[in-house]
């Protein structure tokens, strides 16, 4: 007997003898309905002519990119190509860098996020972010999750907060592992668990978009597979943008891929197309390891 894949979506592809009542079959049906045509999905985030300068140095040149709702978009490209800079424009993280200047328009659901009247704190509650290195607060597991809802005043009572902490941990696939040690320190978890804790923390403020900056680069393959499985589940309810250096990961988790090079989007399209038959030679050179 072969053990099942951590990433469930891989199982039905390999196992054709499907029972309709089988969990895999349900997943397959689900995968088919959600994978058929990403073009049918509506656009969540639009970017028009985004230029970013760090002082005199221009980091992004006229980025035009649409991000589809309830799908995973990966941003790939060599180091320094601007993919993280672009990611950080989406929740206005670049605002905290003094010398950084952003021009152009980014709209989420049609609303300009660089509108001066907009509350940046509220914006960041709508757009969760997960970083390369798991960065739990030096607090208990419970308080790590409760932190956001508390400062944003999302819950009315202790019971409601308890529920939100539990549901966030369940969604991040961590509940079973930590439910008996919620008071224990978040930093006491393994790397993969810490990263899922950070994802749970991001989910707790009920965001619409989750940004991930190389979320698996500090994790072992098993923890990576768990996170990838989680990303696949989360896209049912969230719009996810992930920066990754692993081409295989981009190919595995995303429905759309954008290739950045020297501050520009060279090619953007369906992930399968990008990795089997990219239209731009630079894209091909990069993903096949011919760059330089």
């Amino acid at each position: 007997m072969v053990a099942t894949h951590i990433v469930e979506s891989e199982a039905p592809m390999l196992d054709k003898k499907l029972d309709v009542n089988d969990q895999d079959a349900n997943n397959l049906a689900e995968a088919e309905t959600t994978n058929v045509d990403p073009a049918k999905k509506s656009t969540k985030i639009t970017s028009e002519d985004i230029d970013v300068y760090y002082g005199e140095k221009q980091a992004l040149f006229g980025i035009n990119l649409d991000i589809l709702e309830n799908s995973v978009t990966s941003l790939i490209g060599p180091s320094g190509c601007g993919k993280s800079t672009y990611l950080r424009c989406i929740n206005r993280m670049n605002d905290v860098i003094d010398i950084c200047r952003v021009s152009g328009t980014i709209k989420i659901d049609g609303n300009d996020i660089y509108d001066p009247a907009l509350d940046v704190v509220e914006l960041r509650a709508r757009i969760g972010m997960v970083f390369q290195k798991p960065n739990p607060f030096p607090k208990s597991i419970y308080d790590n999750i409760a932190y956001g809802p508390r400062i944003h005043g999302l819950t009315e009572s202790k019971d409601e907060l308890d529920e939100l902490v539990e549901s966030s941990l369940v969604k991040a696939g961590l509940w079973k592992e930590v439910k008996d040690r919620l008071a224990g320190p978040g930093t006491g978890l393994s790397g993969g668990q810490q990263q899922r804790l950070c994802i749970a923390r991001a989910i707790a403020t009920k965001p619409e978009v989750i940004l991930m900056d190389e979320p698996c680069s500090a994790l072992d393959p098993i923890a990576t597979a768990t996170i990838e499985e989680l990303i696949d589940e989360l896209r049912q309810n969230y719009t996810i943008v992930i920066v990754t250096h692993s081409m295989q990961q981009a190919a595995r988790v995303s429905q759309r891929t954008a290739f950045f090079h020297l501050g520009k989007v060279i090619e953007e399209g369906e992930t399968t197309q990008i990795f089997t038959n990219p239209q731009n030679e630079k894209t091909q050179d990069y993903i096949t390891g011919r760059f330089g």
Partner: protein
């Protein structure tokens, strides 16, 4: 022209895949030519050699497949590289089948070497095998040169092989009806003709794979199908 891989051993592996396919293709061409030559001359010794030579082609198939699997595991190929490795596996299996069909012609030589062959008919057979061989040669060139135009020409050219096969089929049936003593020889020759027609089909598969390898898309036209023999009957009064 594509730039080279940063990892040179990967580049070497892809090059070695190409060179093995070229060698395997060369062997296959030779085998089909020798098999047909043995058929025309009724040369049993040469036919036996062909039968033994087919084993070399089978070995190549295993070797290329093994290398492709290892490369997938080690390199996790993408885009053009992924297509090259997938296409290598498919082309190899077509070449192996072509080798088998050539071997099958050689085996038939052992049964019919002493019979006298109808000259007119062998003429038709000969032009069919010449065409099949030149198609095979062209498609291997198209692969080596990554030339889609050449591959498309091969792909379109298969109809001509089918046309010769149709007329040979008709001719062979007529011979059999004229004199039942011809049935043994003609049945074997009919299979030889069918084998050449199948070689054409495998060559067409390779042409499709060359197109996919280079452009990442399948040939959009409908595949030309000229083999009508499955619907062919000859009445005694014809």
């Amino acid at each position: 022209m594509t730039t080279e891989h940063i990892v040179t051993s990967y580049e070497d592996e892809l090059a070695s895949l190409d060179s093995k396919i070229a060698q395997m293709g060369g062997l296959t061409e030779t085998l089909v030519a020798q098999a047909f030559d043995a058929l025309c001359k009724g040369d049993v010794a040469s036919a036996n050699n062909v039968i033994l030579d087919d084993a070399k082609i089978d070995e190549f198939e295993l070797e290329i497949e093994e290398q492709a699997v290892t490369m997938i595991a080690r390199r996790q190929p993408m885009a053009l590289d992924l297509r090259q490795i997938m296409v290598a596996i498919k082309i190899t299996s077509d070449l192996e089948r072509i080798g088998d069909l050539g071997k099958n012609i050689a085996k038939r030589v052992l049964s019919i070497h002493s019979e006298s062959q109808p000259i007119q008919l062998m003429h038709g057979m000969k032009s069919m095998q010449e065409l099949a061989l030149s198609q095979l040669k062209d498609v291997l060139d198209a692969y080596a040169e990554r030339n889609t135009e050449k591959a498309l020409a091969v792909w379109r050219g298969d109809e001509e092989i089918d046309a010769i096969y149709n007329s040979l089929f008709r001719e062979l049936l007529t011979y059999m009806m004229e004199d039942p003593r011809n049935i043994g020889l003609c049945t074997h020759l009919l299979f030889c003709a069918k084998n050449l027609e199948r070689i054409g089909d495998h060559t067409t598969n390779i042409a499709e794979n060359v197109h996919y390898l280079v452009l990442g898309t399948n040939i959009s036209e409908a595949r030309p199908k000229g083999d009508n023999t499955s619907r062919m009957l000859i009445n005694q009064d014809d």
